[in-house]
Subunit: 196 residues, 2 copies
């Protein structure tokens, strides 16, 4: 049992969070243990507690890293000087790439957030609701500007977000198309589905 091996520009804490996400994805948050995580990292459980206070802190870090990134991106996209349909496309590309490149974190954030402790739980839920409303808002602007067909915006959000989370099956499939092909195919279907 030695030190945590870091790579690229990752700090030890980053490595711990990354491995925790892998573990939570694989076994579920409830069934995962700190001792198990220490084993995966090749360190003593005691050393792990030098970096992280609890399993609950790990879930909090994973979920809020994803949530903060998503909020930053929608902030940026909302203020761009492009059409609403293009905004939806940029957001979709961001979400698709998130599920492709940060699969475990996004997956854990998506499925296990309900185990967050208060006050984080309420805060996370509020962010999640607001995020969906802001996407629906962009779609509604697009409908008003006749770039997007007249549809129910929350239903469009539901389809988009669930289609993106379906990238889970792509990760598990044996004969995969490339990540770029996946992105272009999803954009092609979903964006032309919205276009007026």
């Amino acid at each position: 049992m030695g030190k945590i091996v870091t790579k690229k520009n990752l700090t030890r804490k980053d490595v711990i969070i990354e491995k925790a996400a892998e573990l939570f994805k694989e076994k579920g948050y409830k069934a995962s243990g700190m001792r198990e995580l220490a084993e995966v990292l090749g360190i003593e459980a005691a050393s792990l507690y030098n970096h992280i206070k609890s399993k609950s802190e790990l879930l909090h870090l994973i979920c809020f890293e994803v949530a903060n990134k998503y909020t930053a991106v929608i902030d940026e996209i909302e203020h761009k000087d492009i059409s609403s349909l293009k905004k939806v496309e940029e957001l979709l590309r961001f979400l698709i790439n998130g599920m492709i490149n940060h699969y475990q974190q996004v997956y854990v954030c998506d499925r296990e957030w309900k185990y967050l402790e208060e006050p984080y739980l309420s805060n996370f839920q509020a962010q999640r609701r607001s995020y969906r409303k802001r996407i629906a808002g962009i779609i509604e602007q697009g409908i008003q500007k006749k770039e997007i067909k007249s549809i129910d915006a929350p239903t469009a959000v539901l389809i988009m977000l669930h289609a993106v989370s379906g990238i889970e099956s792509w990760h598990r499939s044996k004969q995969k198309i490339t990540a770029k092909e996946l992105e272009e195919n999803m954009i092609s279907i979903l964006i032309s589905g919205l276009k007026k």
Copy 2:
């Protein structure tokens, strides 16, 4: 504790399966107990075992009822004398209505099938794979006949199936559009997303 109350044309066994699906959906298959199910039904656990051998049999009945229905519908649709795009649309409408009207059963089948026991597990997995391939097959025919744009068919299947399972959020949402509006909105987005 009395007799199981039946309604419409349901047999007692139907009522047991329906309530089991509700319970498995709510608590997860693993965490649900037969005693608990008996309580929900208002009968003694001993009476429950007159109708059903085990919890495992209930999961098997739920999953295969859904799987058999899905297989029957794709059999029927494949042989219809309509365009491939129309076939995809009919299938989508069937799937959407399944998630709207038989939410608990479809949800349990979708999420909890991994707890099936052999030989049912392997059989179910094979049916699931074959089902997805047959949908992809219809889409590929549509691409050849230039009714559907040139896309990766398995990605289109992934988007469709995950969008449909997103109807879960519709059930949970407070301000719902009607089931018919949901169906038409989903069809509008997904079918025009596929059209050439």
